[in-house]
Symmetry: C2
């Protein structure tokens, strides 16, 4: 009633909008004023105008209504069949700004659905899907097929070969297999010690690390060179904190395939369905 009176500009108009009689609003506001211990409207003129106290308390009242509205929206969404939560497991290399956009969009479309994001290695993600620890996975393509899961190719993620600006490779006139050979390469390594063989290895001196962000730090400190997802190094290359190597044997950036992973048997609700489809346009 309070906010409606402010919006409508008069008690009578608010009453009409609320489908009640004018005296109901008049008494309702009077009761609220007693409860809050403050005069909300100044009635000295024809139309009631907010007092300073009323103006201040209006913000708090609107905040209450906003929360009530969110409760109701959540209830309607749950009633419609939206899932209570969706657990998305992904390779940390896939956490790009474009993905953030998709997740923001998800939060708007499914306000009642809790979104849990889990970062893990490809093999761990497949295990999580199988054991119902995650609902949807996004991984680098695994060759082997699996009876329990549905895989869906969604695109390629470009990788750049990078080193620190102080690294000796920067001086090389041409990057060939031959002159990459003597330098330390840093390669991603899953938690289960089952190294992904998708990353090409060109060196005998290989260092393993378990996250792309860790690798980026190591490359920046000059320990070695590595292949890293484009979106993780683009800004750094611009800022001169990393140097992009262009191997002569790669005409285009090396881009491994990416796929989504879903359990075959489990039911798919509207939120999970939307998210799985949205991810198809990620790359």
């Amino acid at each position: 009633m309070f906010t409606e009176c402010v919006k409508a500009g008069s008690f009578s108009a608010a009453a009409r909008k609320l489908g009640k009689v004018q005296s109901a609003v008049s008494q309702g506001i009077a009761n609220l004023e007693i409860d809050l211990g403050a005069e909300l409207f100044d009635r000295s003129s024809r139309k009631p105008v907010l007092t300073p106290e009323g103006t201040r308390l209006l913000y708090y009242a609107q905040a209450v209504l906003q929360q009530v509205n969110e409760l109701e929206i959540a209830a309607r969404k749950i009633e419609q069949g939206d899932e209570l939560q969706v657990r998305l497991a992904l390779e940390d290399g896939l956490l790009s700004p474009r993905l953030s956009d998709i997740l923001n969009c998800f939060a708007k479309l499914f306000p009642a659905t809790r979104l849990e994001i889990i970062s893990a290695s490809t093999s761990a993600i497949i295990q999580m899907i199988k054991r119902d620890k995650a609902d949807l996975g996004m991984t680098f393509c695994d060759q082997e097929l699996d009876a329990e899961i549905n895989q869906c190719f969604i695109g390629n993620l470009p990788f750049y070969a990078v080193c620190s600006p102080e690294h000796p490779l920067r001086e090389a006139t041409e990057i060939t297999l031959h002159n990459l050979f003597p330098h330390r390469q840093i390669v991603l390594h899953g938690q289960e010690r089952t190294r992904l063989d998708l990353v090409p290895e060109f060196s005998t001196h290989i260092i393993y690390a378990d996250s792309f962000l860790a690798i980026r730090e190591m490359v920046r400190s000059g320990i070695g060179w590595s292949y890293l997802p484009k979106h993780l190094v683009e800004e750094e290359i611009q800022a001169g904190r990393l140097y992009k190597l262009t191997p002569s044997f790669d005409s285009k950036p090396w881009s491994p395939p990416v796929e989504t992973v879903l359990a075959k048997d489990r039911s798919i609700g509207p939120a999970l369905n939307w998210l799985a489809n949205a991810l198809k346009g990620l790359l």
Copy 2:
């Protein structure tokens, strides 16, 4: 009722806490379940346990109660006589981390009072107090007394003389009036072109700027040297981005006096009173 049932663990216990009869709670929850379109509790066992839907909706319900609580607190505070707003005008050089602590404390103690912070020069602040554009000011001491305002000395703000690490002054073995002379000094300048004469001037090459933050940037870029509030340069000196000059003619850091300014005639509410007192312990 919903949150109370969750807290209490049973409808009967919740009823006792709410001062109602068990059947009231039982029906109340049943009605809420109809309204929300979801079963909140699983009654198959002796004590009702939250369903997954109930768990999810509980968060939203608690958010509603939180907002209602804040509305009620604000109303009580306004009823007690707390001001609806306090406008604090201060020299930007006085915006220190210690001040932030005081303002956070203020927000907790006076949740219904809007705090407006205005950054301005000393002379502008005094004008704002006189013209009722601000309730409380904090400025560097002004010599002249004024019949309309109450001034209260609260302490001294230490200033450091600083230059950029690349500045030629850094090489000087001793900083004397004589060797400061040929270098550009940057000095604060109010908006009304009435330069504060509290800042000592040692150079014929003087550049004026209208905020300490602007001066800091200029000093960092190597344009000249300046006196700046200690808290604004301490971190920068630590990080090596600024260099502290220790003039031989200053045994201690130069520390101009600071005062609070209040209008003499206007009434002082609890929030304004608290803030004026809290500022006395700032320096």
